[in-house]
């Protein structure tokens, strides 16, 4: 392959709150975003891959036919990336005084390291280990015991069980209803060749992102990434297409009670959001609109929260989150209650009332201020910055424009989006009920 030697990519610079976001795309297709932070000691670097547990059925230019891989393979692959012929990568990071980690979600895998020393060697190691896999049957077998224990740990976590329970009813037959780590049975099927196939299909530079924040020069980041990726021969193009599972419009069940070894009754209330019901709303605007709407409708200052708190229907464990991705979107409400079913009814009724009657302008204005302040504060955290950069980029949105989007969404538009997104026939609840008498 011909290389334009010595030519460094040019960076686009955007200034926000006294910081500069430098972005470019390398020749190999890898998007790179750097926020130089000279006053900080720590450098945080993150490689994100647009690949997660839902990508289990696909077609790729490097293999014949449709591929259906075992559940949990994206997470398994993430574990195995740390082992190389010449030893464990995590240990190498430790020897350099860096700490490293990785995580897999439904649609993303992230590899990261942080250091307070010179970051160049760690960055080279990060890019190298993510672009140079080493899979053997022996190592795959060994990992099954470790991941099996991880799966069992989550089986004992009621909040994860409740969360997944709702997704099983919201997305039956869809990979979102399958645990990110898979099951003891599904991981038993995984072979080294499966890992290699998934790696080759998804770990391509254009399908990845690199974000770095800290005392480092953007050109150094680009030079290291370009050189290592080229050395590892990762710049050949690969076309991979996911087969999107069909999403049922309505949940399988409106509510489900599960007897469980928990102390307090727990409610998990999910609301499925369908993209085709939200024309002209991108995932970031949806996220901002839901954050502001839910804060005003269900936050501590909201009359609904106060009413439920004062009558003892909910407590400090209550929370809500909006998940807005390219591939899916849903809202999850959860909390302990003496009567999960009654809390479910009260929340649905209250939310419907907020959607029908609208929310006070002042309440939405305050939530908008809060969202803006949280955005400003996120620039103080190297990890928040890198994750925000990568998540926005994966959604096709410029993170530098996030604050302007928060300001630009009018109250009327927020209500319009919330009404289109949160439809009563998309609600599904899961109650965990103590099984002791």
């Amino acid at each position: 392959m011909s290389r334009r030697k010595g030519k460094m990519p040019s960076f686009q610079t955007q200034s926000k709150f006294g910081d500069h976001i430098e972005s470019t795309v390398l020749d190999c297709g890898l998007p790179v975003m750097v926020v130089p932070k000279r006053d900080f000691r720590k450098t945080y670097a993150l490689i994100g891959v647009n690949y997660g547990s839902i990508n289990n059925h696909f077609k790729t230019s490097i293999a014949k036919g449709k591929q259906r891989v075992p559940d949990g393979i994206a997470h398994f692959l993430e574990h195995k990336m740390f082992e190389k012929k010449d030893g464990d990568v995590m240990e190498k990071f430790s020897q350099l005084g860096c700490s490293s980690n990785a995580m897999t979600s439904f649609n993303h895998t992230g590899y990261l390291f942080e250091t307070t020393g010179p970051p160049e060697v760690g960055l080279e190691l990060l890019v190298d280990f993510v672009t140079r896999p080493y899979f053997t049957e022996e190592l795959v077998q060994k990992e099954k015991g470790i991941i099996g224990e991880e799966i069992k740990m989550y089986l004992d976590d009621p909040s994860w069980r409740g969360f997944m329970g709702v997704l099983e009813d919201l997305y039956p037959g869809h990979p979102l209803s399958i645990d990110i780590a898979g099951s003891l049975e599904s991981i038993a099927e995984i072979k080294a060749s499966d890992l290699q196939l998934c790696y080759d299909a998804f770990y391509t530079p254009p399908n990845m992102h690199l974000a770095v924040a800290g005392p480092i020069d953007p050109k150094t980041v680009a030079e290291i990434a370009e050189r290592v990726i080229h050395r590892n021969g990762k710049d050949a193009p690969v076309a991979t297409e996911n087969f999107a599972a069909k999403v049922r419009r309505k949940p399988l069940k409106r509510r489900r009670k599960v007897l469980s070894p928990v102390t307090n009754q727990k409610l998990y209330l999910g609301i499925k959001i369908l993209a085709d019901e939200l024309p002209n709303v991108d995932p970031v605007d949806l996220e901002i609109a839901l954050d502001i709407f839910l804060g005003a409708a269900l936050g501590r200052s909201a009359p609904l929260y106060q009413e439920l708190f004062r009558n003892g229907a909910l407590d400090d464990s209550f929370g809500y989150s909006a998940y807005s991705e390219r591939e899916y979107a849903f809202v999850m409400l959860s909390g302990d209650s003496p009567d999960a079913e009654a809390l479910d009814r009260a929340l649905c009724k209250g939310l419907t009332r907020c959607l029908d009657e609208g929310l006070a302008t002042a309440d939405l204005r305050r939530q908008r201020r809060k969202s803006f302040g949280e955005l400003v504060r996120s620039y103080d955290s190297m990890s928040s910055l890198c994750w925000n950069l990568i998540e926005c980029h994966a959604k096709g949105v410029d993170f530098a424009a996030y604050g302007d989007r928060v300001k630009a969404l009018s109250n009327a538009r927020i209500m319009e989006i919330a009404r289109a997104a949160l439809r009563p026939d998309r609600f599904s609840a899961h109650y965990l009920i103590p099984n002791r008498g």
Binding site: F17, G18, D39, F40, R41, K42, D88, M90, E91, S94, Q95, L96, G97, C98, S99, S100, E114, T116, G117, E143, K144, G145, I146, I147, E149, K152, M153, L155, D156, D157, P158, S159, P261, V262, T263, N264, G295, G299, R300, S301, A302, F309, G312, D315, D316, S317, D336, R366, Q367, R369, K370, S371, G373, E374, V376, R377, D380, S381, M382, N435
Partner: protein, 426 residues
Amino acid sequence: MKEVDLFSQHELASGVILHHHRSKQWKKESLRIAFVGESDGDVAERSLGAYLFRHGHRRRRGMDRVSKYFQDLYGGGFSVRVSRTARHHLLDMRGMVVDGAFLPGKPNTFESLVEHAGAMLHEPWFKQRNFERDLLELERTNLLRAIDGLVDNKAQFADQRLTEEMFAGHPLAIPAYGRRDDVATAKFSAIVEALDRFAKEQPVLIYYVGSRSASAVKAILKRHLQLKGRSALRLKAFKGPAIRNRPKTFREQQEISQSRLAMGFRLEGYKRSQDLYPAHLGDAIFGGSSSSKLFRDVREKHSLAYSIHSAFEGGTGTLYVTAGTDSANLDRVTTLVKRHLKSMAAGKFQDQDRATALASIEHSLESSRDSAESMIGFHLGAQLSGRKNSHPAKVLRRYASVKPENVANVFERFKLDTVFRLEPLA
């Protein structure tokens, strides 16, 4: 680089010290007001009182109005909570606001934060005649539900049961929020009295991190906080129960998929001044990091666990080991932990292990300086334990001066005291 203390100290009144760190590194300003009391007595009352604080003050009554106030401050935050160290019980007020310089109109968000903190201290709603007493019962129910719900987090539950058993009869066995029975019966008048006493009599450590000068911070504190003089911080030596001659193993069963193992090792003849650094460094080699012996052997080599780690607690001289594993492997993991402890005592670790542990400690110390909360936590910890070294570089030098034989000596004196096994129902 000049190693001045990270915080300059300013006595605002007797026993009321402002620790100030000025930097334009951050886009927020952080405030922490820590009242430091004894680790026993009134624990449940203070704990319930912390819940009452969130209902606001005379002029801003109700959780909703407090919440709206901070939303208007661009999502600032203020909380009151209790925590515990080996020797102290803390009532902590923590606040944070976005630095007004980064906001439209450049509002003085910090002064608004301190104004709220001052009003909470001097005229909390719960001390007003029109306070709605049923809120206490609500908060009591909330706290009791939270206490009961701890069992749902298996790792945390196992750690707590181990501590309760290991320090039975000592204040350390009392959870930071108090005993369940005490929470259930604490009277309103006792809560108000306990909080009053705490706020008026106990030493206060105030921390500020942000872009403001010390004189500007002092002026704002003077306007709104007005804390009167009180006795200075006293440091009492920790006296725990005697180490058991024979380790105690106890089991409980629950409906779970994975067993939890919690082991507590006490350091015989623990002298903080001599043993703290070798113990911490040894812990990093033994089980305190992802390159530790336990992680490499129990998890990576034998595939017996997903989570296994150790932590040395310097206040009590205790080394904790926790792991999640299949019940069939509990004995094997226990044996491996003991074996590695023995090998540490025999000095069987490499120079590379020591170098990696030092690098990990250095990273942790240095990166704490990028977070206002971590910097405050690090410094407050030093104050409460009487540690003189409060600059990370100085602390790091203490670690670097630890010799392998110092580590071996400490590990030789670790005695297994208590083992807790949380197992699936038969």
